[in-house]
């Protein structure tokens, strides 16, 4: 069969000559390579003190957004939960009462909104599915913890704080 990419390499199984069979030159070559790495600049980032910069389109922890008046944008339509391939999102919808107009933008809102961060694969489908621009994956990395139930993030952790 012809090669499509033209990058195929045919390995030669030729007999090694005496110099190659001694292996010592190859060993010294290897020692030279490791030695050159010894003095090379180290790639380490000293994490707690220095943090690595994320790229522009990095997808981190979710945050539920508010509009310009500080009201929650989410209307509990459930499209994010539907689009989620890992089924990490659940929510309970509730109707807006009188006098809560400054809290919730639409007539329906999410009373409970939970994301299981152990299931989430940070694909960003929820962000794309949302018609109200209510959820964005613009946070940091999920914090490590000792028990699993702390990884179910509710509204207390997800909701953007009110900016005055």
């Amino acid at each position: 069969m012809d090669s499509l990419s033209n990058r195929k390499k045919v390995i030669e199984h030729k007999k090694m000559n005496f110099w190659e069979r001694m292996y010592l030159p190859a060993i010294f070559q290897g020692l030279g390579i490791t030695m050159s790495h010894f003095f090379r600049k180290k790639a380490t980032i000293f994490y707690p003190e220095v943090e690595r910069e994320f790229s522009e389109n990095f997808r981190g922890l979710h945050s539920l957004k508010r509009d310009e008046n500080g009201a929650e944008r989410c209307t509990a339509c459930g499209l994010c939960a539907l689009s989620c391939p890992a089924e990490a999102i659940t929510m309970t919808a509730a109707e807006r009462e009188k006098g809560e107009e400054n809290l919730y933008r639409e007539e329906k809102y999410a009373a409970v909104y939970e994301i299981n961060m152990l299931r989430c694969i940070f694909c960003g489908f929820c962000e794309e599915a949302c018609p109200k621009e209510a959820i964005y994956l613009d946070g940091n990395i999920a914090k490590a913890d000792y028990s699993r139930d702390t990884f179910i993030y509710g509204k207390d952790k997800l909701l953007e704080p009110i900016v005055k």
């Binding site: 020692l31 790495h37 010894f38 003095f39």
Partner: protein
């Protein structure tokens, strides 16, 4: 036997033991640091500045860990294994001359614990005894991986001891003595034995790697196929003893290599200094510089060359090193006869 002699030797023994333990401790740190450097990392750097307290932290960790003796293991032998490893590693340094004689309070003090006239053979014997620690521990663990590690250790040590012994014979033909002290004295100036015995040195070097179970030859503890080899079942400080004994062995092997082939405590320009005590101190420093370079070489090799396959190991030992060392003996003998 006067009391001063005993006190002098006791001080010397405790100093050597302390220094070898200290160097072994810091070799563990150096190994991890240099491994980091070779792999473009920085290695442990959190415990103290540049991580210099890391060995202490490791020691405390190993001491305080839970000690587990498997239910079906032979308890006595299980404990004997690591102790024997540690013991044989520590007693090897007894015959190494650490420097020229010191003169203190009008008395000459030899910087060597025992100048027995079969010094090399003593080291050779104790090193060959070292495999018992691994074998007993591996067998007493009552675990198939440990047993396989023990068997590998036994066959590897026997195979490489032969080549090592034969390379030593060629060296002895040049030096004409078995005493390490006399060998050191003979190498004064630039008469280092490595210049007369380059092939012998190479064989001895390879065999020291094999005898200390260092990386190209670390098949007894080969973690990819044998879990942990002979120390699979070990925990806490018993494991620590096995790991620590390896580093003491590296230190002692470096000392032996430096003494036998690289001039021991001799350094260039030694005859220019007249004060014997200054010479002694500088000699000790020279020997330790050589030892540290060899330790660095051991580490360097470990992070460069991958492990042998078992058949390659046996082939290298029996088919290459032993014939090569016999040829080396014959050539050395011929040269000695032709020179006379």
């Amino acid at each position: 036997m006067d009391i001063y002699f005993i006190i002098e030797k006791l001080i010397l023994i405790s100093a050597i033991l302390g220094v070898s333990l200290l160097i072994a401790m810091y070799t563990t740190l150096a190994e991890r640091k240099f491994a980091g450097f070779f792999q473009d990392r920085v290695g442990p750097n959190r415990a103290g500045p540049w991580g210099i307290l890391q060995p202490l932290a490791d020691g405390v960790k190993l001491f305080t860990k839970e000690e587990i003796i498997p239910t079906n293991a032979g308890t006595f032998l299980f404990v004997l294994g690591p102790s024997l490893s540690m013991f044989t590693a520590c007693i090897t340094s007894a015959v190494i001359p650490w420097g020229p004689d010191l003169t203190l309070f009008g008395k000459t003090v030899a910087l060597q614990v025992a100048d027995i006239n079969v010094g090399i053979l003593y080291i050779f014997g104790v090193v060959s005894l070292g495999v018992y620690g691994i074998m007993i521990g591996g067998w007493a663990s009552n675990n198939k991986f440990s047993l396989l590690g023990a068997i590998r250790a036994a066959s590897q040590n026997i195979s490489y001891e032969l080549a090592m012994g034969l390379s030593i014979i060629a060296l002895l033909m040049v030096t004409g003595t078995l005493s390490l002290r006399e060998i050191s004295i003979q190498q004064e100036g630039w008469h280092w034995n490595v210049l007369y015995q380059p092939i012998g040195f190479l064989i001895f070097l390879i065999c020291s790697f094999a005898e200390t179970n260092r990386t190209p030859f670390d098949l007894p503890e080969c973690e990819t196929e044998l879990v942990g080899g002979h120390h699979t079942e070990y925990s806490s400080m018993k494991l620590g003893f096995y790991l620590f004994a390896e580093y003491i062995n590296v230190f002692v092997s470096s000392a032996v290599l430096a003494t036998l082939y690289f001039g021991g405590y001799n350094f260039p320009g030694m005859h220019l200094i007249s004060n014997p005590n200054v010479v002694a101190i500088l000699g000790v420093a020279a020997l330790f510089i050589k030892i540290l370079l060899f330790i660095f070489f051991f580490i360097w090799i470990r992070w460069t060359i991958p492990r042998f396959r078992y058949d390659q190991l046996m082939k290298l030992g029996w088919n290459i090193l032993i014939p090569l060392s016999i040829i080396n003996i014959v050539v050395t003998g011929l040269v000695i006869i032709l020179k006379q």
